[in-house]
């Protein structure tokens, strides 16, 4: 398996220039996630106004896949309605677990992370921030 499949340009870019790093203050929900196997840790914080994710940030340490995925996630859901964020989470998880044909939902740049599927042990790295975001949203309004 070629490494370019995994380390796509957009992933390396988000890794070296992460977007929306930090903690939202004040936040409506803050959630920590961890991948005990590799020691990756992430904190996702967000603020919701009128059903829209007004701000969302992440903090933590981890591999390029987990950091890039978190960065791309915040970029994607910031400024979007909570309902849409939930649909994107479902579509992303579906893509990573190959339950869904790519393109069923337009994931845009996020499709660059599809390559991770070919490296099964890394799938958890890509989904960590998304699962953490989902839990943060659940804190606000149970799904």
């Amino acid at each position: 398996m070629s490494l370019d499949t995994l380390y796509r340009e957009v992933i390396l870019d988000h890794y070296s220039h992460p977007r929306n790093r930090g903690v939202v203050e004040p936040a409506d929900a803050v959630r920590d996630g961890a991948n005990p196997l590799c020691g990756d840790e992430i904190r996702v914080s967000l603020r919701v106004r009128d059903g829209v994710v007004e701000d969302v940030r992440f903090e933590g340490k981890g591999c390029s896949i987990s950091q890039a995925s978190a960065s791309m996630m915040t970029e994607r859901v910031k400024g979007r309605p909570v309902e849409e964020a939930r649909r994107t989470i479902a579509a992303f998880k579906g893509m990573m677990h190959a339950e869904q044909a790519p393109g069923a939902d337009d994931l845009g740049d996020l499709e660059a992370l599809q390559g991770v599927r070919k490296f099964p042990v890394r799938v958890k790295c890509a989904t960590l921030s998304w699962i953490t975001l989902e839990l943060a949203l659940d804190e606000l309004s149970p799904a």
Binding site: Y7, L12, K61, C63, S64, R122
Partner: protein, 409 residues
Amino acid sequence: MAIPATIRDDFPILKQRVHGKPLVYLDSANTSQKPRAVIDALVRYYEEYNANIHRGVYAIAERATAEYEAARAKVARFLGAAEPAEVVFTRNITEALNLVAHSWGRRHVGPGDEILTTEMEHHSDLVPWQFLAQERGARLRHIPFDDAGRLVLGDLDRLLTERTKIVSLVHVSNTFGTVNPVAEIARRAHAHGAVVVVDGAQSAPHRPIDVQALGVDFFGFTGHKMLAPMGVGGLWARRAFLEEMEPFLGGGEMISDVWLDHATWNEVPWKFEAGTQNVGDTIALGVAVEYLEALGMDAVAAHEQELTAYALEQLRDVPGLRILGPAGPADRGGVISFAMDGVHPHDIAQVLDEDGVCVRAGHHCTKPLHRRLGIGASVRASFYVYTTREELDVLTRSLLKVRSLFRVA
């Protein structure tokens, strides 16, 4: 006598290519590869004399029993035990350490007593003691390590008190590679009346061991790291301890006689070997230690020390690399863990894999050690009898590639 260059021919797995490149296996601290002789022993057992031991009166059962007990004698000789009965076979060292904590610990450790380990232990040598301490209301204490990954022994005589019942420590650190001065620590621990347990998972495969000269009371090892199959390891202990200890697991074979409401125990060591044993793998373990003895454990240790010195020197040329553990090869096993500025260990291991290089990325089951260093994970390259300098060159080149891929060059 040096390790012959032809040794690689003995290891069938090393001949393959992965991703079109020769396999560079640098994860022997995780599990070692197996020589043909060991694989053949396993096949021979299953093809010629597979039978349960200590039970049959027929020929193949007798042969299986004899080979199984011969393996015990070989391991006993390999470790410098006083007699074969001092070796108890278990599934792995994790089970061996749990056996000590359960069978010796529960009898001797009470409320307020202390158990001393170190901050560089593998989880296998931490969690069993945590169980014991919780159950008995005992206190856990830890010998710290310094920036070079060496135990700080200045305070040892304060850490050891009249309440210290057990001192348990790793002989060779699976993360730092540090060779700990076990004999000295054992002497000081004994002066305070404690028993000494040694995690020999990373020492027995790589250097000459003489448990009696080390002056310890319990010594655990795990077969799969010393050329044997996965699924067998063991515990050496002085006979007096084994005699006095209660069994660990109850069931068949560990008994002398059984009534409906009670039982009496078999003799040492069988009272600790309940149920059908891993006969084939144990016999293969006997062959593995014979293979190591034929190489000579001094030669094995010298080979690895030379490789470690070479690797430490080569890795110095990789910018941004932080090597954990002792800076030089003295008192250091063939294990080098490191972190790289700006690149996560998983990404490093992934890029190395593309070049056929197998290394471990993660916390290597030493989370408290990594936490103390302030890092979540590291990369570990580890060597064995079949490792070559050329392979270490591939490692260095591949690490330089990592830096350019992640633009931290």
